[in-house]
């Protein structure tokens, strides 16, 4: 087995653990599902090629590349001047369909939609991406303190939205 095959085996073992978080983030950055998938694929190819020996890339680098690719796509297509959420009415649900949490899922999607872009991306990277504030800052090109501040405001807003369901 040569080095490239070995890296592909490693890649395939690494990818499933992060794919849904990557796609979730890509969906927030794009306007439709097809764009999200294309942006994700291009970002993964880019980071895979940029990483020495094609080793699994650092997570902040992947998220930063997804974000940059989405911005580039939006600019090239001139589809919008600012990123908007859920423009595609046929877009699949953001979260897994778990029957006992359907109410929370709908409220959470609505709450995320109501957040500003800056807060939403920080919340997603921290809560579902599992990044630290340092890593979130690196991915979004902001300071860790700024990331923490945006996160706090975003979580507070979500808590108000989900308050009826919280015990």
């Amino acid at each position: 087995m040569d080095a490239e095959q070995l890296s592909l085996v490693e890649w395939r073992a690494w990818l499933p653990g992060h794919a849904r978080q990557f796609l979730f983030f890509a969906r927030q950055q794009t306007r439709c599902e097809a764009d999200a998938e294309d942006v994700l694929q291009e970002a993964l190819v880019e980071t895979w090629n940029r990483t020495p020996d094609h080793a699994p890339p650092p997570l902040p680098l992947v998220y930063a590349t997804i974000r940059r690719r989405a911005i580039d796509l939006a600019r090239s297509n001139e589809r919008r001047t600012r990123r908007e959420l859920h423009d595609d009415p046929a877009r699949p649900a953001l979260f897994e369909d778990e029957t006992e949490m359907t109410g929370m899922r709908d409220l959470l999607e609505s709450g995320l939609k109501g957040l500003g872009d800056d807060q939403r991306e920080v919340v997603i990277l921290k809560v579902w991406g599992g990044l630290s504030f340092d890593e979130v800052g690196a991915a979004l090109d902001i300071s860790p303190n700024t990331a923490a501040s945006r996160y706090r405001y975003g979580i507070e807003a979500l808590r108000k939205t989900l308050k009826p369901l919280l015990v």
Binding site: L15, A19, Q21, L162
Partner: protein
């Protein structure tokens, strides 16, 4: 503060219970399959190629047009043909034939009688005549008329007795 942090942590835990939707099998195949990666890379290269090739090609065509224009403006062959139209037509080398020539006095003026130092007496008369000649170019039939006014002085001896 600690209560606030623990509340936030608990809320985060609740949020994390909702898992982001799993990518479709088709997308996972695209991401996992090395051929998918290579296809995407090829597609990316193609789009990059188009992005840079089209403006490059346009620039090359514009450069060619400019060079062609410069060549037309400055090359000897084009220079001669371009300026030739501003030159007068070459003169005919065929001899002209005089078809008529007339000489008519149109005016006469008597200047009076003068006595010369040698004792002679003369009458001076000014004559004005028009000399008109017509020339023809046999090949084309073009005609040219030349009109020349002339002045003559007649001196007539007057006999004295």
């Amino acid at each position: 503060m600690n209560d606030s942090n623990s509340e936030m942590d608990a809320f985060e835990q609740q949020l994390r219970r909702l898992q982001p939707a799993r990518p479709s099998d088709a997308l996972m195949a695209r991401l996992e399959n090395p051929q998918g990666l290579r296809q995407a890379r090829t597609g990316m290269n193609r789009s990059a190629l188009i992005r840079f090739l089209v403006p490059g090609l346009g620039g090359a065509i514009a450069l060619l047009v400019i060079l062609a224009g410069w060549f037309v403006m400055h090359h000897e062959l084009f220079h001669v043909s371009r300026t030739a139209k501003f030159l007068p037509a070459p003169a005919s080398q065929a001899p002209l034939v005089c078809t008529s020539m007339t000489d008519a006095v149109v005016a006469a003026h008597d200047d009076g009688i003068y006595a010369g130092v040698d004792g002679r007496v003369v009458q001076v008369i000014h004559l004005l005549d028009i000399n008109k000649s017509v020339w023809k170019e046999p090949r084309s039939g073009n005609r040219m008329e030349i009109v020349v006014p002339r002045q003559q002085i007649l001196v007539n001896n007057i006999n004295t007795y």
